[in-house]
Symmetry: C2
Subunit: 216 residues, 2 copies
C-alpha cells in the first residue's frame, strides 16, 4: 500500500510517518519509483508498536529507536532477551549509582546482585533514589513486595513463550510490560483505598465519588 493508505490504516498522519522513517523507527518501504514506495503488513505492525511505546509507555524517540533496533536483531538466548527488554524499559530519570546500603539490603534478601541484569541494577538504583529523597523502604515491605511481584511474574512469563521466535518473545516482554505496568500501578492505588477504608473505616457513602467536593 502507499503511505496515504498506511496513514489511514494506522491513524497516524503522513508527516509523522515520514518522521518515523527519517528517524529510523520505521523501515523503508519497497521503492516502486524514484518518488514512490509501498508498505506492507510489517509496516502497519511497526507503526502500531511505535505508537504503543510513545503513547502508553511515554518512551522518548531515542528509546523507541533502541527498542526497534533490538527487535530487528534480537539476542539469541532467552535470558539475554529479557535483559534486553528490561534495559529498554529502564526509567527515563537519570540513574544514580547504587548505594552500599541498597546493595546490602538486596543481598540480605537473597535478591540477585545488581551486576546480574538490567532489572537488578534498576532495582538497586530505585532503592538508592528513594533513600536519597528520604524514603527508606524497610526490609519487611521489600520482602512482601518481592513475594507479590513473584506471583505477578508467574502470570507474566507464560509457558507458551518457550515456542515462539526470539523476536516475538522480546516484543511480548516489552509490549506486555509497557501496557500492563499502568494496570498494576492503578491496582496498587485501588488496593490502597481498599486497605485505607478497612483500616481507618471512613469509606465514602455509596455512589459518592471519593474525591467529590465536600458539601460543607
Amino acid at each position: 500500500v502507499r503511505i496515504s493508505e498506511l496513514s489511514e490504516t494506522t491513524g497516524v498522519s503522513i508527516p509523522t510517518l515520514k518522521y518515523y522513517l527519517r528517524e529510523g523507527l520505521l523501515h523503508a518501504g519497497a521503492s516502486v519509483s524514484a518518488t514512490r514506495a509501498v508498505y506492507d503488513e510489517s509496516h502497519v505492525e511497526r507503526v502500531r508498536l511505535v505508537r504503543t511505546l510513545v503513547d502508553v509507555g511515554r518512551l522518548s524517540i531515542e528509546r523507541v529507536r533502541e527498542v526497534v533496533h533490538t527487535l530487528d536483531e534480537p539476542p539469541a538466548s532467552r535470558h539475554e532477551l529479557l535483559g534486553a527488554a528490561h534495559e529498554a524499559l529502564r526509567p527515563a530519570s537519570a540513574a544514580q549509582a547504587p548505594s552500599a546500603a541498597a546493595l546490602t539490603q538486596l543481598h540480605r534478601l537473597g535478591l540477585p546482585e545488581c551486576d546480574r541484569s538490567p532489572a537488578s541494577l534498576q532495582l538497586a538504583q530505585a532503592l538508592t533514589a528513594a533513600a536519597a529523597a528520604g524514603w527508606t523502604v524497610g526490609t519487611d515491605a521489600l520482602t512482601t513486595w518481592w513475594q507479590a511481584m513473584l506471583s505477578v511474574a508467574d502470570s507474566d512469563v507464560v509457558p507458551g513463550l518457550a515456542s515462539v521466535t526470539p523476536g516475538e518473545a522480546l516484543r511480548y516482554a516489552i509490549v506486555g510490560n509497557v501496557l500492563t505496568d499502568p494496570v498494576l500501578l492503578a491496582l496498587r492505588r485501588v488496593a490502597q483505598e481498599a486497605v485505607s477504608a478497612e483500616r481507618f473505616g471512613s469509606a465514602p457513602a455509596s455512589g459518592t465519588p471519593a474525591t467529590a467536593t465536600p458539601s460543607h
Copy 2:
C-alpha cells in the same frame, strides 16, 4: 536564609529556584527589603519535594503545581486525601474513556466502579488502553495482580497515618508512591527473570551478567 543559601542547602541553582517561585511551585519568602527575601525550613522541604516529583516522578511542571496546591489546601477527609494523591499521580498519557469490556471485567472481579475514585478510573483506562493496543489482560491474571497489590497496599497504608495531619498524610501518599513505584516495577522485572530462569531453565553462568554479549 537568603536565596543563595537555599540554593546551597538544596543543591538547586538560583535561576531554577526563581523559576519555581515564578511558577508558584515554591511559596514566596518573607520580604526583608524591596529586593531581598528570606527563606526558612519550609522552603527547603518544598524544594526537595519538587525535585523528587520532577526527577523521580517525572511529573510535568503543571502537575507539580497541582500537587503543591493540593498539599497547601489538603481535603479534610482521609478518603478524599488518597483520592487527591492518586489524581495527582495519574499517568501522563492522554486518557481514553473506559471501554464497556473493561468496566464489565472490573465489575465481575468485584473491584470498585470507575466513578468511585481517580484510581478506579485509572485502572479502567489502563485496561482500555492495553486492549486498544491489542493486549487483553485475562481475568486470571487480573485476579492474581489484585491479590498481589492488596498485599503491597497493606504495607503501604501504615497504621501511623491515623495520627498525622491531613497535609502529612497526603505528602506520604504522593511521595511514597512516586518513590516506590519504580522499586515495585523493578522488582517485577527481577521476578520475571527469576520465573523465566526457573521455567525455561536457561540461567546464565554465575557471575556473567544476563545481558553480556554472546561470545560466539
